[in-house]
Amino acid sequence: MNRIDNCFANLKENGQKAFIPFVTAGDPDLGTTVELVRAMTGAGADIIELGVPYSEPLADGPVIQKAVQRSLERGTTLAKILEAVTIIRKTEQVPLVLMSYYNPILQYGLDNFVQHAVEAGVDGVIVPDLPVEECPPLFSRALEKGLYLIQLVAPTTTEARLKKIARFSRGFIYCVSVTGVTGVREETNNQIANLTSRVRQVTSLPVGIGFGVSAPAQAAQIARHCDAVIAGSVLVKIIENNSDNAVSMVAGLVADFKSALSG
């Protein structure tokens, strides 16, 4: 059974919501990423998303763009990230999801990517520039090896598209809370409830909400509409601002998010 399914099954049994932190792998270096994953797991992260840096992050706001740049400057590659996952897997069982634009995966080779990701212990992959129409080559290979392709839906997604997307998604459905790029936002918009209820009509998969989640209290509000809350930029910003104690500070905020969701 995929670790993601396990995770949601356990949470559901206990009436809990998942908190899913995102960090860019290799920011500021892969050693720190390994430490971050361990510390975030200790702080209560239910699933962890690792961003694969790509030189053209067109779905990302300034915070993650800068993280990507820091990571690429250190020579981070998909192959090295998979090595880091192998190291993480020696001690951690937290479900791991890679978030990568399509081109790094394509150049790695679809077959190799799926094979090596599964061997390293990756559970799922999110590809923000791979819409459902273009996903079958990756989806079918991933499905065969038990790697989950997690699809995104947006407030603009039509009913016809929702149905199709649900068919091609595994693990959970990732609802983009706003029409926009990643980044911290103050207000939560009221489209969220509408979107998640539309999603629930076409799938029994767990529903996660991400993009713009900036604080534990806001996450608790959002969690009323879903099974998982995803936060990235607010954590990445800590790494940008604190070179010495980023790991413990990020872990601290993850703990706050988790307790807000449990409250």
Binding site: Y54, S55, P62, N103, E133, T156, T157, I165, G180
Partner: protein, 397 residues
């Protein structure tokens, strides 16, 4: 005509739609609106009207007697897109797209620009048709093409300086896509070349095809026969697709696309995507890309801001693979020489982009007999490049 692209936007293996889900419904809507507009008499009538009365079409096909004499071989004809309103072929496309945006009920348009020609053309059509307009431009290009920045502002557009990445055309496009993702409800994204997700490569080609349709008629009228060669520069590839497309079925007409070789293909500082790239996904479509083994886009260079782009339209990738078009390249220095040459031989100051196509013609013409005919797409005028040229020769303006 050929039935490419297919309904998913593929030219052979190339094309498609690789964008965030947020934009997919907008692309579906755009495809449908364009499909209906293409068949609509009123739309076609308005497009033709503005091309004629506003842009000044048809543009002349001029026999470049000075350049022909200088080269001493084939007869060289120039398709004078430089004489269009705003000074380049870009306006053909922006008129078409903004007429469509109006039909779709959009109120705001955005664009990316490199040389500033597409930005100016978008700002112009936005002023004409009454849209709010924002243009994204890389910081490096804002400096290189300062004159065009001011032109856009005069036309009422907001010019947004992009400071991310390499601060050139591709980064401007990333930022425009981010704007579009955020404001997709009321905003129309006017892409300036045959790049991006389906239906842009097809739609922009169709709007630019007027270049080739006219050139084909004009050369038949002037000489009674088809040309031996048609040559165009390739950045994203819109002026080239525009002039090539109506000649694709004429197998005897050789088509040459000229990419920018910058400091030389071996220098690593060029943007010869089809010559040196490999297939990958960049900014919405699958096509040749200048990238490293990990799929990261490589830094590129050209003296010409309009060619300074690591990708290329998917239809060109297809035409390369099926060997219908040959893609060559010209270095910065060769383009500069061809630029200076045309100023002297025919009294025409070409855009640095177009000078790459001229450089190829200058190499080719002397090897051909005098009855051969070459058409060069003179995609734009060089007013915007006068500062760059002055710097090259150490003159003060």
């Amino acid at each position: 005509m050929m039935s490419i692209p297919d309904e998913r936007g593929y030219f052979g293996d190339y094309g498609g739609r690789f964008v965030p889900e947020t934009l997919m419904p907008a692309l579906e809507e755009l495809s449908e609106s364009y499909r209906l507009a293409k068949k609509d008499k009123e739309f076609n009538h308005r497009f033709k009207y503005y091309l004629h009365q506003y842009v000044g079409r048809p543009s002349p096909l001029y026999f470049a007697c000075g350049l022909t004499r200088h080269c001493g071989g084939a007869q060289i004809y120039l398709k004078r897109e430089d004489l269009n309103h705003t000074g380049a072929h870009k306006i053909n496309n922006t008129i078409g797209q903004l007429l469509l945006a109006g039909r779709m009920g959009k109120t705001r348009v955005i664009a990316e620009t490199g040389a500033g020609q597409h930005g100016v053309a978008t700002a112009t059509a936005a002023a004409l048709f009454g849209f709010q307009c924002s243009v994204y431009m890389g910081e490096e290009d804002v400096h290189r093409q300062a004159l065009n920045v001011f032109r856009m502002r005069l036309l009422g557009a907001e010019v947004i300086t992009v400071k991310s990445g390499s601060r050139t055309l591709k980064d401007a496009m990333n930022e425009a896509i981010r704007d579009w993702v955020t404001n997709v409800e009321n905003t129309y994204y006017c892409i300036g070349s045959v790049a991006g997700p389906h239906p842009y490569p097809e739609m922009v080609r169709d709007f630019q095809a007027v270049i080739g349709i006219e050139a084909r008629e004009q050369i038949l009228e002037h000489t009674g026969r088809l040309p031996d060669y048609v040559i165009a520069c390739v950045g994203g590839g819109s002026n080239a697709m525009g002039i090539f497309y109506p000649f694709l079925q004429d197998k005897e007409v050789k088509l040459i696309g000229v990419e920018a070789a910058g400091h030389g293909l071996e220098s690593g500082r060029h943007c010869a995507t089809l010559s040196r790239g490999k297939p990958g996904v960049l900014q919405g479509s699958y096509s040749y890309v200048l990238q490293d083994e990990h799929g990261q886009v490589l830094p590129v260079h050209s003296i010409s801001a309009g060619l300074d782009y690591p990708g290329v339209g998917p239809e060109h990738s297809y035409l390369k693979d099926i060997n219908r078009v040959v893609y060559t390249s010209a270095e910065d220095g060769e383009a500069v020489k061809a630029f200076q040459l045309l100023c002297r031989t025919d009294g025409i100051i070409p855009a640095l982009e177009s000078a790459h196509a001229l450089a190829e013609a200058v190499k080719l013409a002397p090897q051909l007999p005098p009855e051969s005919i070459i058409i060069v797409n003179l995609s734009g005028r060089g007013d915007k490049d006068v500062n760059t040229m002055a710097k090259m020769v150490g003159a003060k303006v």
